[in-house]
């Protein structure tokens, strides 16, 4: 259809000059490019990927059995031939134990956070969008959960079930849902009052469509950032549960248990405690940086092209 010439080009800045070449990069992948340009975030992703690969391929990467004690070689310092990072108080290889410990720690850090994010996001969006009675009901239930200290609630839930990784994941998931749910509801309340929601409704959008295409993308970035931060924290919480005997059972150890076990020999062999501590620190930080990077990349307003 013909457009009269008097209609075009008035908003000078917005109109592309004729003959300008198309942007070379495919528009579909600009978020990925935005992310890759953020060096800290990429480094964090590489660290986490390495940790994950190490955990998955632990049996092939370590020459030693993580549970094999060697009483003749206890407290070997890092650098000992055959034991790159030394051995612990029972003479078990630290490299093997860190790799195998990562399996539990990463699982406990990531899976409950992801589960809780999905559940919390759904509940929070529903509450914030519907408001009224449903909102009140959902939020009061979450408030009850929030009233307990985080770790105490996890202990209570894990305590009534059989100890193990599944229990640990379940307990941490339940504990996290109200935190994510509250954030999701707050973010949703901010979004539903925006004119573009009213405009979407005026265009005939149904509630499911508005929730999926208008609310969700606009509340997702704070949730993603929060969730990645929580992953680091949950590795520590999981360690706490294990320490209390409610999580993984000895001889299986996650990084947190390793820190806890090593504390009695801290003076004699600091590396037994420090090494898993440093690993937890690095992985937690990596999760945080990854979260920041994701936030910038997910938000079209902050991403530069």
């Amino acid at each position: 259809m013909d457009v009269p010439s008097d209609r075009v080009g008035v908003d000078g800045a917005a109109v592309a000059p004729p003959g300008e070449p198309r942007r070379p990069l495919s528009q579909r992948y600009w978020r990925l490019f935005a992310f890759l340009r953020d060096r800290t975030a990429v480094l964090a992703a590489v660290v986490l990927l390495a940790a994950a690969l190490g955990a998955v391929f632990a049996p092939w990467l370590s020459a030693h059995d993580p549970y094999e004690a060697d009483n003749l070689l206890r407290f070997a310092p890092p650098g000992t031939p055959g034991h790159l990072l030394g051995t612990d108080q029972q003479g078990r290889d630290m490299v093997a134990r860190l790799l195998w410990g990562g399996r539990v720690s990463l699982l406990v850090g990531v899976v409950p956070t992801v589960l809780a994010s999905i559940i919390g996001l759904a509940l929070g969006m529903l509450a914030g969008y519907a408001r009224g009675l449903l909102d009140q009901f959902v939020m009061r239930v979450l408030d009850v959960l929030l009233a307990f200290p985080m770790v105490l609630l996890a202990i209570a839930i894990a305590g009534v079930l059989t100890p193990g990784v599944t229990t640990e994941i379940l307990a941490i998931t339940v504990v996290l849902v109200p935190y994510v749910g509250r954030l999701a509801r707050t973010a949703t309340l901010g979004v539903v009052t925006m004119p573009y929601i009213e405009a979407a409704r005026a265009a005939g959008g149904s509630s499911p469509v508005i929730l999926a295409r208008y609310v969700l993308p606009n509340v997702l970035s704070p949730i993603v950032v929060y969730a990645t931060t929580l992953m680091g924290l949950m590795i520590v919480v999981g360690a706490g549960l294990s320490f209390l005997g409610l999580g993984v059972q000895p001889p299986v150890a996650d990084w947190g248990t390793m820190v806890a076990d090593g504390r009695v020999v801290l003076r004699r062999a600091p590396h037994v405690t420090v090494l898993p501590g440093v690993v937890i620190l690095i992985v937690s930080l990596a999760f945080n940086f990854l979260g920041d990077g994701l936030r910038d990349a997910l938000d079209p307003r902050t991403a530069r092209r």
Partner: protein, 329 residues
């Protein structure tokens, strides 16, 4: 009423808050929109223009409620339509353009998919087909290089371009009625003219009915066929545009025109503001709502609220003294 009436309001009443102590923002508004014509709804801020529009769209949110009246689309009362049926009307039979193009677009959807969402809400077509139509619509509303621009996000565009996109979304399903709620208020003057021109051209081309909400009398003069003047939740005067500007009968309309400026106006003659403030709608005056500010008010004005009475073919005025006011000026 002639058959080309697409939408008719009868006694629309919208209240915010409880029955006692609530605010009746729209109080008994009746009018008809006709195919192929532009109707301007004029009034000050708070006179109920936008609430009227949102009531038609069924977008009044609690604590607000449409408490009385009929909204007849082709003779069917939208107030009795179910939620699903109403969704089918919004965006398809009635398109709406909002005031602020900066916040009326979802920041995380591209221009193209934004418009495609509207189409897909009403027609069972694939996303790809909807996006292709979105590109054609963007071209149609004057976006240059539309295929590439459809992939861009709202923050890449100026206000005028965003308003074009919102208009494209509003007309995507070729509605019978376009409601434009102060579509140019947030834009600068040069862009205003092009957007209004665009709205006018589209309305003509689709033979649609345009309800233009504005407080800019210049816009009214340039665009409207019929004019409704609202004051404190009521329509106080209804006329075709020529009658309204040349022989207004309601003292409020006359005062409103007195506030308007023209480029060639004598600077030494000061503008005439309307004395006083619009009434508090929680406690409206018992009689005519404009009486406390009216130069022509008499005892009867405080006693009873005047109804719209016809003066000639297409001219209605709600004033006890409408017959005398004209002579006074």
């Amino acid at each position: 009423m002639s058959t080309d009436v697409v939408l008719e309001l009868r006694g629309l009443r919208t209240r915010f808050g409880p029955e006692r102590g609530g605010t009746v923002a729209v109080d008994g508004v009746s009018f008809a929109l006709r195919r192929g014509r532009t109707t301007a709804l004029v009034g000050e801020s708070g006179s109920g223009k936008s609430v009227t529009a949102l009531s038609i769209m069924g977008l009044i949110e609690p604590p607000g409620h449409v408490v009385a009246g009929e909204i007849l689309l082709d003779g069917r009362d939208l107030r009795r339509a179910g939620a699903r049926e109403f969704e089918g009307v919004r965006g398809s039979r009635i398109g709406m353009v909002f005031q602020d193009p900066l916040t009326s677009l979802n920041p995380v959807l591209t221009f193209g998919s934004q418009i495609a969402e509207t189409i897909r809400a009403h027609e069972p077509i694939s996303r790809a087909a909807a996006e292709q139509r979105a590109v054609r619509l963007l071209e149609h509303v004057g976006v240059v290089d539309a295929a590439a621009r459809a992939q861009d996000y709202p923050h890449h565009f100026s206000g005028g371009m965003r308003q074009r996109a919102l208009i494209a979304a509003a007309i995507a399903c070729r509605p019978d009625i376009i409601i434009a709620d102060e579509p140019t208020t947030a834009l600068d003057v040069t862009v205003q003219a092009t957007i209004l021109r665009l709205l006018h051209d589209l309305q003509q081309e689709m033979h649609a009915s345009l309800l233009l909400i504005t407080h800019d009398l210049g816009v009214v003069a340039a665009m409207a066929d019929d004019v409704l003047v609202m004051y404190a939740g009521r329509v106080v005067e209804r006329a075709d545009v020529d009658t309204l500007f040349h022989a207004p009968r309601h003292p409020y309309t006359r005062a409103l025109l007195g506030c308007a400026t023209g480029i060639e106006d004598d600077r030494r003659a000061p503008l005439q503001p309307i004395e006083g403030m619009p009434p508090d709608l929680r406690h409206p005056p018992p009689g005519c709502r404009f009486a406390p500010r009216c130069r022509h008010a008499v005892a009867a004005c405080d006693a009873a609220s005047p109804a719209l009475q016809p003066f000639g073919a297409a001219h209605e005025v709600a004033c006890h003294r409408a017959a005398e006011v004209l002579a006074d000026a």
